[in-house]
């Protein structure tokens, strides 16, 4: 096509540069600094080319630059596949494409590359600001496409037209978004780097690991309860259970034989809720103790932690039920109990001695040993703090007898160690405790600083019992929250602080908006789509019926838009309509208006035919000529023309 090979004008080059800038700026934090620098250089080069109207760089130089860019990306990431390297490659291509804008088709290629980069941003973040930024980028890119077609209008006009077209595209977007049959990804493997930097619990627990999390106010998950929100002290969100201790760290034991069904009976009232879990890249799902149902595609480990069959790489929503009063593990296997008693061969001699003393005093009476341990912890006057001192090799002894300052993992670990030393099976449970109800939307928000660790001990005949040693020394941690429990003046994440009420209020509102966005825009998945269609009366929607509905609705929108776009066609210039009535009347007298004839020439001819009406014909023609072609028609000319024509009866 002749058009595709038309050279790119200066204005078009500026537009494309603006587009490329808009598309690549948000990616600066994601790509290596050298690439940002190189891209900026390319952009400045492009600007200079356009400004000075220099010649484009020769092709061999561009080829060299492509090779250099690719080599840089490979050196940086060792591959060009995967998320970040792929985007880095796209940025390289975009920067170099700008340097070889020869023809109109290069402009289209640039625009398409920009669209890919917008998608690239979404791989990293999909927040509301990102969406707004992406919308702006699409607007500029569309304006650049408009300019590639016709570069004469000024920028504001291009932007206005682009905005208009995008506004007209919005109904299609909405319909497609709601009704396009959704497929649950991934369609192929997702590179592992997707969740390299997500904070959250890990499968090991060592002194300081949870204290570190307490500095983060990132959301771990959100919960909506069907009924009342249970009291704060009952909100124990069970996470990984750790039984194996190597003297310093606690680890999740690889439990063989997970349960496909709940292995214990329900007792007392149940609590129904729905969890929206932020992606954390691990397999575990958090559930209120003790889980009564299992989310789809999950199983229960032998220590009652629900785990998903696939790592949680996307925001996940699942309905759950809990039995807060259920008793589990009355008939625990000997192997599990043996695991829950194992201690390293040496270390922490002082606690071991005390444990042995309890053992000789109380024998097999687990309940008595538990009471002794609780009493002992209370008498140690331990201090709950975010900044515990560093500990030497005997972590438990040093915490309990020397420093006496620790965070929840210190308490839980020491307590479990003490009971094991006394011969009572015990283990550490990590998870989250509490959460904060957002008054705006009623969701309970559990953040990373709500991470917690507690103990679980086994007593013959009573099964596993939850003991929270932190609560012995800092009861307010459990009954209210972190801020209430730690000494004043310690650095807390902004949101965990009790003061600054108005800021918290603002933050609550923002969080409610974010949650709505997450639930309805980002969390609009096949499940939610089915639910929505079911409420609209489409039970059992399959892709065929959905496509049918979608086509009908899109067709309707298209018809509406067509009618709107072509609406002007139905409206004929009123002066012309009146003139046509006039000529039709004369045609009946045998004087046919020829379309190429000017009104005055026609009037002259008509007047010759019917001289009796000559004057009126002349007046009408003069009025019409002034309306249509005159420099300044009078305000009432049109009304005059209409009345005169109405009165004209040849």
């Amino acid at each position: 096509m002749a058009r595709a090979s038309r050279p790119v004008s200066r204005r078009q080059a500026w537009w494309l540069l603006a587009t490329a800038l808009a598309a690549s700026l948000p990616l600066v934090p994601q790509v290596p600094p050298w690439l940002s620098l190189a891209t900026a250089t390319a952009f400045i080069w492009r600007a200079a080319l356009t400004w000075r109207q220099w010649h484009l760089p020769p092709r061999w130089l561009l080829v060299l630059l492509v090779i250099a860019g690719t080599a840089g990306v490979v050196l940086q990431y060792r591959t060009i596949f995967g998320r970040t390297p792929g985007i880095a490659m796209l940025v390289v291509f975009l920067a170099l494409k700008l340097l070889e804008l020869r023809a109109a088709r290069d402009a289209v290629a640039t625009a398409l590359l920009c669209y890919f980069l917008v998608l690239g941003q979404f791989l990293f973040t999909q927040t509301i600001p990102t969406a707004i930024l992406a919308g702006l980028t699409v607007l500029i890119t569309t304006a650049a496409l408009l300019a590639a077609s016709d570069d004469r209008p000024p920028p504001q006009q291009q932007l206005r037209r682009a905005a208009l077209m995008l506004a007209q595209a919005l109904p299609f977007m909405l319909l497609l978004f709601l009704l396009f049959p959704r497929v649950q990804g991934p369609l192929w493997g997702i590179p592992q780097d997707r969740f390299s930097a997500v904070s959250g619990l890990s499968d090991t627990l060592s002194p300081g690991s949870i204290a570190q999390l307490s500095q983060s106010d990132a959301v771990a998950f959100r919960v909506r309860f069907k009924g009342e929100v249970p009291p704060q002290s009952q909100l124990y969100w069970r996470g990984p259970v750790m039984s194996s201790f190597d003297g310093r760290s606690w680890r999740v034991t690889q439990t063989s034989g997970a349960y496909a069904e709940i292995p214990y009976a329900g007792v007392g009232a149940s609590v129904d809720y729905e969890v929206t879990l932020e992606p954390h890249g691990k397999f575990w799902l958090f559930a209120l103790e003790l889980p009564a149902t299992l989310p789809p595609n999950s199983a229960l480990t032998s220590d009652y932690q629900p785990i998903a069959r696939q790592a949680v790489r996307n925001r996940l929503r699942y309905a759950q039920r809990a039995w807060p009063e259920a008793v589990a593990g009355v008939n625990e296997t000997p192997r599990m109990l043996r695991d829950a008693l194992t201690l390293p061969t040496d270390g922490n001699p002082r606690m071991r001695a005390i444990g042995a003393a309890w053992r000789t005093q109380h024998g097999d009476d687990g309940a008595a040993i538990l009471a002794a341990a609780e009493d002992f912890f209370a008498r140690q006057l331990l201090i709950y703090t975010l900044n515990p001192p560093l500990l030497g090799p005997d972590t438990v002894d040093e915490f309990l007898f020397d420093t006496k300052r620790g965070f929840c993992e210190h308490f839980a670990a020491a307590f479990v160690f003490a009971l094991r030393a006394a011969g009572v099976p015990a283990r550490v449970v990590a998870g989250y405790q509490g959460g904060e109800v957002n008054p705006v939307d009623g969701y309970l928000v559990v953040r990373q600083y709500d991470a917690h660790a507690w103990a679980e001990i086994w007593i013959a005949g009573r099964g596993w019992i939850r003991i929270d040693p932190t609560a012995i020394s800092a009861p307010r941690r459990v009954s209210s929250n972190l801020a209430a429990a730690i000494p004043a003046g310690e650095g807390l994440p902004f949101l965990a602080r009790a003061d600054l009420a108005w800021l918290r209020e603002l933050r609550h509102r923002l969080d409610a908006v974010t949650n709505g966005w997450n639930q309805w825009v980002l969390g609009y998945n096949p499940q939610r789509q089915r639910d929505l269609l079911a409420t609209l009366g489409m039970s059992e929607p399959d892709w065929r019926s959905m496509t049918a509905v979608l086509s009908v609705l899109c067709g309707g929108v298209m018809l509406g838009l067509t009618a709107w776009i072509l609406r002007k066609r139905l409206r004929i210039d009123p002066a012309l309509a009146a003139w046509r009535r006039f000529t039709a009347r004369l045609a009946r007298r045998g004087i046919v208006w020829r379309t190429w004839e000017g009104p005055l020439a026609f009037a002259e001819r008509a007047a010759r035919h019917i001289p009796t009406h000559a004057e009126r014909i002349g007046e009408i023609a003069a009025l019409y000529a002034r309306l249509r072609y005159g420099p300044a028609p009078q305000a009432d000319d049109l009304a005059q023309l209409k009345t005169r024509i109405a009165a004209f009866k040849p």
Partner: protein, 326 residues
């Protein structure tokens, strides 16, 4: 082989698409039934890119990726409507077409009218492989597009079927239509490059100078040409105006130079087209020399005269010689 098949298919399509037997009566209104829309190459690339973005969005479960694809898809649909609207209901009528000599370029003027209150932007008109003409038509306005076609042979050259297309606003879709307006260009025979000298001889060889006109009766003035005799400069008239051009007095009358350009005067070895070419050259030369010339042809006879009307009548006679039979 494949190319010729494509060409034949295209020809069939165009004939079907035009529906009416050319030429069409004016005004030609491009109604929605005769405007076609298909994606351009850029449009196909756009669709493929959207497909890739959709796959990516599905794979990574990116809700905003879905939204992006759907927005851009909607934009594509909107682009179809806008492009279609840019062309539909344009009204065309033939304009003027000045006669040309064979071997020259016929310029067909088409008047395009926009009855809508919005501008129509970047409409391209072209005939077969000729360079397209790009025009805009303002709101409630008309624009003349002049399409050039090489005029190879004398006679009437009907305006070939024209294509009118637009890819505005996004360049992703192309709307186009065909029209076969009723417009003909008169093509004169090309004047022979080498012609025998003007037939001075014969009954009408009077007067004395080659460059002279008749010298008897003053008949008017015209602009001075270098070859005009200084005797004939209208000094009085020149003196009356200030800084005006030199004027030459024209004379006519029985003694004005008169020649007959005679079809039969040429030897039999000269074929028809050559004869016409030579006659055309003679006419031009005679006209340039201010002679009163007449034309004698098998079917046409023009009395000797001089002037634009005379030469256009003469050339027209040459152009249309035996035209119906061809």
């Amino acid at each position: 082989m494949l190319a010729s098949l494509r060409r034949r298919l295209h020809e069939t399509f165009v004939r079907w698409a035009l529906r009416v037997r050319p030429p069409e009566p004016a005004p030609i209104v491009l109604t929605q039934r005769r405007v076609y829309v298909l994606p351009t190459r850029a449009g196909i690339a756009y669709a493929v890119a959207l497909g890739i973005i959709l796959l990516g969005a599905m794979n990574y479960n990116l809700s905003l990726g879905h939204a992006l694809v759907f927005l851009l898809g909607g934009l594509g649909i909107v682009a179809i409507l806008h492009t279609f609207r840019n062309l539909v209901l344009v009204s065309m009528r033939p304009g003027r077409c000045e006669p040309v000599f064979a071997g020259g370029v016929a310029r067909f003027a088409m008047v395009l009218e926009n009855r809508r209150a919005e501008e129509r932007t970047s409409l391209r008109l072209f005939i077969d492989d000729e360079t397209p003409v790009e025009i805009d038509i303002g709101p409630h306005a008309s624009t003349v597009a002049t399409l050039s076609v090489p005029a190879a042979r004398r006679g009437w050259l009907p305006m070939p079927r024209l294509t009118i297309e637009t890819t505005w606003p996004l360049g992703l879709v192309r709307a186009w239509s065909y029209a076969a307006p009723d417009l003909n260009c008169l093509v004169y025979p090309a004047p022979a490059a080498k012609a025998p000298p003007l037939p001075w001889g014969g009954a009408s060889a009077q007067g004395s100078t080659r460059d002279g006109r008749g010298a008897d009766d003053f008949s008017g003035l015209r602009g001075h040409q270098v070859a005009d005799s200084p005797h004939h400069v209208a000094w009085k008239a020149v003196a009356r105006q200030q800084d005006g051009p030199l004027l030459t007095k024209l004379f006519s009358g029985a003694t004005a130079q008169r020649i007959w350009l005679d079809w039969e005067a040429l030897p039999d070895t000269v074929d028809t087209e050559q004869r016409l070419s030579i006659l055309a050259r003679w006419m031009i030369d005679a006209e340039a020399n201010g002679l009163a010339w007449g034309l004698r042809m098998p079917a046409v006879r023009l009395a000797p005269d001089n002037g634009p009307a005379q030469i256009s009548a003469g050339l027209r006679a040459l152009a249309l010689h035996n035209h119906g039979a061809r």
